[in-house]
Symmetry: D2
């Protein structure tokens, strides 16, 4: 079955560099995005913004409206959270990415952030894709837990056909059969994706594994494999996080990961220059 | 991990009967829904409505806005299709179910049909769930291709918390590793679901298998297993269907399936009455 | 990728009927195999043999050497169990099927039983397949938990190339992502398998679901779908079974299932004869 | 469900170092195993042995008896191949690992090689596990394509209970739903495995992806993640390989991978020593 992605397919294209304010994806560097699953308070997001900025992150993430599996779980602070993260970002000059769940969120975010995230649960929500594609912002598009690479590229095609300013693809774990990890990080699939498309590809080891202890090795692995970046959940006090506590890392760990990824990246250019 | 579905869980509840105009789900009968993947023309939907009505279907289905994997595939006739199916249904006194992809669709459907469908791709689109839950109509909620039973029940909980008039759950195939069938019909999961919830559970063998030849045996299987019904794609000329041609059956086959399901159902009551 | 199964493929062949002593698979009837996961004692296997024989089972099953996931679990009574089940079968005139784990078991079974089982864990143990194929006995070949239909047919081809007297294929559940059931019974796959091969196809709902309450509806479903039979774990006191207790049913339930399957089967011939 | 692996579980144990002649697994280095899927000729295996030895490989692999999905595919040269690889290894002083499919193979290999491989298809072939555990050789145990980490550890427990001299675990790809890659390399699972056990853990990106172009980035990823090594299929003329041609790399690529892995490994110790 041919899957003709006229705009998203690699064809003979070189890597596309996607810009979100000062952030760059696909330029050969390894872009780290850090921040909390949920924006919880002014102090929380300011502390995280300062820490991830100092560590060299390319962007700050934070959830405003959460699409939780259970309606009884914390659903995010909503519009107020957008103001909080926008203010925190302004202090640190970090560009911000926030997930939108519906058209109203897209409109709200278009005024305040540098990039819109479409989450894994909405990867094939075509109305949302079309709306985000027309927003004037680049989009971070997460792979659904049972989406093939072709399906992910076709979702990107929905964005690009609306004139989307840039699309960054994110592998965040596919559904697996073993409860040992929350999902399965499909690193091989992410690498194959880079062959199929000119768009940048990053990974989300936080959602992929659901385990704090596995974040650092998997970010280093993604850097060594030549992917374009990673998005990681960071919290000043991970165990006290209102959502996804088990997979959040603290700020010093984020800084150590950033240093490690930079060192790994440096080894990759050795062979070419040697 | 406890998943407290206060409203959707079985608890000590008997089976809930969900009503959509004249249709009943969960009353011990086996409710068949038939109709085309996409509403294509006045003549097409009128012919199908007449045929499935005569065969004893409980409801007529038809797609107006299609959420296709590829943006280059036929996307449905949209609003015009709602008028066509509503008119066809009026002639045959068949209640109608149509899928909504966004809040605007929910508002449009609330004036014209008896039940709203939330598709597998939108099972965790919580904004759409909330909106459909407030629509005043019952909802046919399809299980996502990698959703656990708990996740499906929590999606139903989103609907019920908004006061939804009734929820029918639909197993439509989970993602599998074997391309022999489009998806894997999880009949055991559907049966387990009936133990976990008081809501009616039906199956969709068309999307589950993607193969015309497997529809009839799987509908009979669902009837023999004691599930509450099935939704089947029907087209006067299956090979000419604008979407999902490989899995559509023709009208005489639908009638034969309806007769077969009725006979199978009759055998289930034998042991009790004997 | 073409998968040329010269011997196992349907081609233009009608259904092959496989005989194991008095048992028949693929002749249009629905053959039930019943018996314990593990043969535990003379009394246990004699009681079960009597009960399943009286209920109309086609064969008696029982495990002698168990291939358990954990080395600390009960591993079966071994050779002694073969004597016990052979004696019990002689009293009831029921043909017996027992699983072999290695070549020595095949040799032992060839003297005592009517059919050899190759379990799901050994579906691609080609040395065992070749040996069982040469044993002079028909083989019950179970699908591995992550085997495609093509892979199952190629495993059958290994048997047939050695001159195997007959192969019955068994769908016993594929690995799934939802712990709600032990595995996922792929009924659609089993039906597709019947289209791809002339060999008989049965299901094993005990291993597929791991839940006692789901056995009866799934056997009736398999009968309604037109498959060739089912293999079910039966124990006089299911909760006391030394292995797979959660999925064993008691003897009266087995008898009720046999009656139900016969009634369902009768409805399938109605359309043809009407 | 508790899975008590008395011998294989991490408990409070430090990493176990497994020795196979001069090879070491689990000592903090990154051990590369290279060699052909199938041993095809004296010249082929000698050339590969020389190349992988020169590149710094820890071991030489090669298939003698192949467990192919289809009985019509090349099944390996058998016993003759063991002589060929043993001779090639003697010239290069490289320890050898070869897969055994049955007890006779274990006996044959015990006289000629340094380590026995149990393949993914035989991970739960308990008779083979017991036999290999008693062989006096260390064992390379591959994870089955649908085995959980607990199941893999319990298979290792079968080996260890027989007194096995050492067990190296290998993640070689789990079954996935996307044909874009042959399987899914579960790198997160391999890392979690290291937490659950004191045994060394390596990866097999050749079987995991089935794509030559993905081998190098995935080996570097495994090194960056801190795993203990990788096993890679190498062939002088990959496109002419008699089995698994699409995933074999040539000898210069293997050498480049070995250099890259060494550089990546060096960066990991930086933080500790800095």
């Amino acid at each position: 079955m041919p899957m003709p992605c006229r705009l998203a397919s690699r064809g003979n294209e070189p890597d596309t560099v996607v810009r979100a304010a000062s952030a760059r994806f696909g330029d050969g560097a390894f872009a780290l995005i850090g921040g909390p699953c949920s924006i919880e308070s002014e102090e929380q997001i300011r502390r995280i913004a300062a820490a991830v900025g100092q560590a060299g992150a390319a962007m700050l993430r934070g959830g405003a409206w959460k699409t939780r599996t259970s309606p009884y779980d914390f659903q995010g602070l909503g519009d107020a959270a957008v103001d909080l993260i926008a203010a925190a970002a302004a202090e640190t000059a970090l560009p911000v990415v926030v997930e939108a769940l519906c058209e109203a969120h897209v409109a709200r975010l278009a005024r305040s952030v540098a990039m819109i995230q479409i989450g894994a649960r909405n990867m094939q929500n075509v109305e949302l894709l079309r709306c985000a594609g027309r927003s004037g912002l680049p989009v971070l598009l997460k792979r659904g837990p049972s989406a093939t690479l072709d399906e992910l590229l076709l979702a990107a095609e929905y964005l690009l056909l609306e004139g989307c300013r840039g699309v960054v693809l994110c592998e965040r774990g596919i559904r697996g059969f073993d409860p040992s990890t929350r999902n399965v990080l499909d690193l091989g699939g992410a690498l194959r994706l880079k062959e199929l498309t000119h768009l940048p590809v990053i990974v989300d080891p936080s959602h992929a594994t659901g385990r704090r202890s596995l974040i650092e090795p998997l970010v280093l692995a993604a850097a060594a494999a030549g992917l374009d970046g990673a998005i990681v959940e960071v919290h000043p006090h991970p165990d006290a996080a209102l959502s996804d506590a088990a997979q959040a890392i603290d700020c010093p760990t984020f800084a150590r990961i950033a240093r490690g990824a930079a060192r790994v990246l440096a080894t990759l250019t050795y062979e070419l220059s040697a």
